[in-house]
């Protein structure tokens, strides 16, 4: 393959932030190239094995500091063509209008510098394109009727148990929206994606193409329209002239190459994006790069039931409740989801969460086929004490490893405590024995906040860096607040919004 020497737009990273934008620009005839540090993982090569699938995760070591150190790697950090959507569970609830107005509502956190309708417009395009399976009428938030193209995926054991427990406590539940197909769908640039076979291994990669990871959706569309995706291409530097970047240096097969570009889009996620900005001294006149690191409150409650759940089967998060979207005494709120689990993940979480070892570990694991979980995804406020910095320790490339400080604040502690107590009640009502809680945080958010004021934010409301004329950021690092919804769908919405903004520039001849 001959490598491109120039792109109108180069996109660094091919996950939820990079891929939709890449497709939209390619469709409009813009010459786009994507650089992806990982390799391709086509469905037919995916094994149903957690250890064998380590290659879809970002395993370069990060240093986790603070009182509630964040687990990276398999917990939240993807690598490969498709980025973290290779391992996401495909859970795709929308954000709510009030998620964008946390400061207005509570006087804490931050408001988003855009209107909910701007996200909603994009959600409506993304959901049918990905082929989201969900209920005929979604009970929470606006515009719930006929939102989803396909009927919901079947409930698994954990979902049936959560429905039972919630019903007895008067909590509403619904089949969850999941970006995995309940019936086949034609995908432009890819072909037919089959219906989900309920393997339950979404977090280790989908072997059928039923899950809407972005390699089989937006990236296939992008390549169909002429985008070039260079995998195994690790960005090592940027060239700059005044207020403009002139291109990107990257390492591929042991050689360093240069790609000249008119516009650079950084879509490497809320750790690698600020890490690159800090390493290369870009876009940080505000001093805000790396600040405001957030991670969703994500405590899980597990139990073992008299019934057999065989928790590796079925889409892991097949049931949802958002009755706790607002709870008295909390800033923001959380959603509840039922969760299935793969065996190695369950076993290692059990040891980490309970400290159990020896024969007691094996005794507990004998109950694996009777395990079911509930999980929350809750808001997280930005704090001065939660941030990313460069450490003195170098990685294999000779670059400083990032150090991420994270300590739950009072509000996150309240959310987790409220949620854990509620989930324990739900599980007791559903008949669980041997209940235990696993405190954790999910996703990486913040670190290059969007805003209108260049003194307190890194990018403008369209993702353009305040400090540079042609650097954009399109990923979860720009989120001003965490949202009480899984981030992938909203990252994609912002990505398409940034693409439209860039296309307006093209039309005006500004590119």
């Amino acid at each position: 393959m001959s490598l491109p020497t120039h792109a109108e737009v180069v996109v660094i990273g091919t996950g939820a932030g990079g891929a939709p934008l890449l497709a939209r620009l390619a469709q409009a005839g813009v010459k786009v190239v994507a650089l992806e540090a990982g390799v391709r993982h086509p469905p037919k090569g995916i094994a149903t094995d957690e250890v064998a699938q380590a290659g879809i995760f970002w395993m370069d070591e990060r240093l986790s500091a603070g009182e509630d150190p964040i687990a990276f790697g398999r917990n939240n950090s993807g690598k490969g063509v498709g980025g973290s959507t290779l391992h996401y569970t495909a859970y795709t609830p929308r954000a709510h209008p009030d998620d964008l107005r946390l400061f207005s509502e509570f006087g804490q956190g931050a408001d988003w510098p855009l209107e909910f309708s701007e996200l909603e417009k994009q959600y409506r395009q993304i959901e049918p394109f990905l082929g989201i399976s969900g209920p005929a009428e979604y009970p929470w938030g606006p515009d719930g009727k006929d939102r989803y193209r396909h009927p919901p995926l079947p409930l698994n054991g954990a979902a049936e148990l959560m429905a039972r427990g919630c019903e007895s406590l008067g909590i509403r539940t619904s089949a969850a929206p999941n970006a995995a197909l309940s019936r086949p769908q034609q995908q432009e640039g890819y072909g037919e994606r089959p219906a989900c076979t309920n393997r339950g291994f979404c977090q280790a990669g989908c072997s059928t193409g039923a899950k809407a990871s972005l390699d089989v959706t937006y990236l296939a569309l992008a390549e169909h329209h002429g985008a070039q995706i260079l995998d195994d291409s690790y960005v090592t530097g940027f060239r700059r002239q005044g207020d403009r970047l002139t291109g990107v240096e990257y390492l591929r097969g042991g050689e360093t190459y240069f790609l000249a570009a008119d516009v650079v889009v950084l879509s490497a996620g809320a750790v690698e994006t600020p890490r690159m900005l800090l390493m290369h001294g870009l876009a940080n006149s505000s001093g805000q790069v790396g600040r405001n690191f957030m991670a969703h409150t994500g405590v899980q409650v597990w139990g073992q039931f008299p019934e057999m759940t065989r928790p590796n089967k079925g889409i892991p998060g097949s049931l949802i409740s958002e009755d706790t979207h607002r709870v008295e005494g909390l800033v923001g709120g959380y959603l509840l989801q039922s969760i299935g689990v793969m065996p190695v993940t369950y076993a290692t979480q059990f040891t980490r969460g309970t400290g159990t070892w020896g024969q007691a570990l094996h005794d507990h694991m004998q109950g694996y086929n009777h395990v079911a979980g509930i999980n929350i995804l809750g808001d997280c406020l930005p704090y001065d004490h939660n941030y990313l910095e460069l450490s003195d320790e170098l990685d294999a490339h000779g670059f400083p490893k990032p150090r991420i400080h994270f300590t739950f604040g009072e509000n996150e502690k309240r959310i987790n405590a409220h949620a854990e107590a509620l989930m324990r009640r739900i599980w007791e009502a559903a008949g669980a024995q041997d209940i235990w809680a696993f405190p954790r945080a999910a996703h990486t958010i913040g670190t290059a906040r969007m805003g209108t004021d260049p003194a307190s934010s890194v990018v403008d409301p369209y993702g353009k860096a305040h400090d540079l004329d042609n650097l954009y950021i399109s990923d979860n690092s720009t989120f001003p607040s965490a949202l009480s919804a899984n981030p992938a769908l909203t990252i994609m919405a912002l990505s398409l919004r940034t693409a439209e903004h860039l296309l307006e520039g093209v039309r005006k001849g500004a590119l």
């Binding site: 995916i46 395993m59 370069d60 964040i70 950090s77 291994f201 065989r310 065996p343 040891t351």
Partner: protein, 188 residues
């Protein structure tokens, strides 16, 4: 547990029958078979003495037969390659150093004392070095429960999913799960 011995043999006919069957996709079969055929090797990262101690600690934390399940060798090979799981506690030194620290903290008679003595020493290590202990325990647990012999022993056959599952609800055994369990001699 009558078939524990036979199923811990990587070449047991029942397991081989299942792994060779069309119930597994090619990539899954390859991953599991190559894992079963890993043989214990001499330590490269750790010294022979450290390795012997690590192996004994491993048996205490996640009871197993190290000849059948070379969990310590798996850790040694990982450290030798310099692989990471993507993060480490900032308070800890790099993984290998941390594990050495934990081993060095054990009482001198750890390998010669009785089971109760070892249990007490490991309990103390968990108290004194909670994060290193957690990391080592999680890595041993991953090694143990990623082995299809041990997965079968907890009744798990999720890897036999080439045809997918249709029965996913509560108290439902999928016909293909039943078939897989039967092939492996684990019919419920």
């Amino acid at each position: 547990m009558s078939d524990q011995t036979s199923s811990s043999d990587p070449f047991s006919p029942a397991l081989d029958r299942l792994l060779s069957s069309s119930q597994l996709t090619g990539p899954t079969r390859q991953a599991l078979q190559s894992r079963l055929h890993q043989r214990p090797t001499a330590p490269q990262y750790f010294s022979v003495a450290e390795f012997a101690l690590l192996e004994q600690v491993g048996v205490g934390l996640v009871p197993h037969d190290p000849k059948a399940f070379p969990l310590a060798a798996r850790i040694d090979a990982r450290l030798q390659r310099g692989d990471s799981d993507g993060w480490r506690y900032d308070r800890l030194p790099p993984d290998g150093q941390a594990y050495r620290q934990l081993l060095a903290s054990l009482p001198a008679d750890f390998q010669t004392t009785d089971d109760a003595g070892r249990h007490a020493a490991l309990t103390q290590a968990q108290h004194d070095h909670p994060q290193i202990f957690e990391e080592l325990l999680a890595e041993l647990t991953e090694g143990f429960y990623s082995d299809p012999r041990n997965q079968l022993n907890i009744g798990y056959v999720g890897f036999a999913d080439a045809q997918g599952w249709t029965a996913t609800g509560l108290d439902q055994l999928d016909p293909h799960e039943l078939e897989a369990l039967t092939l492996a001699g684990k019919r419920p």
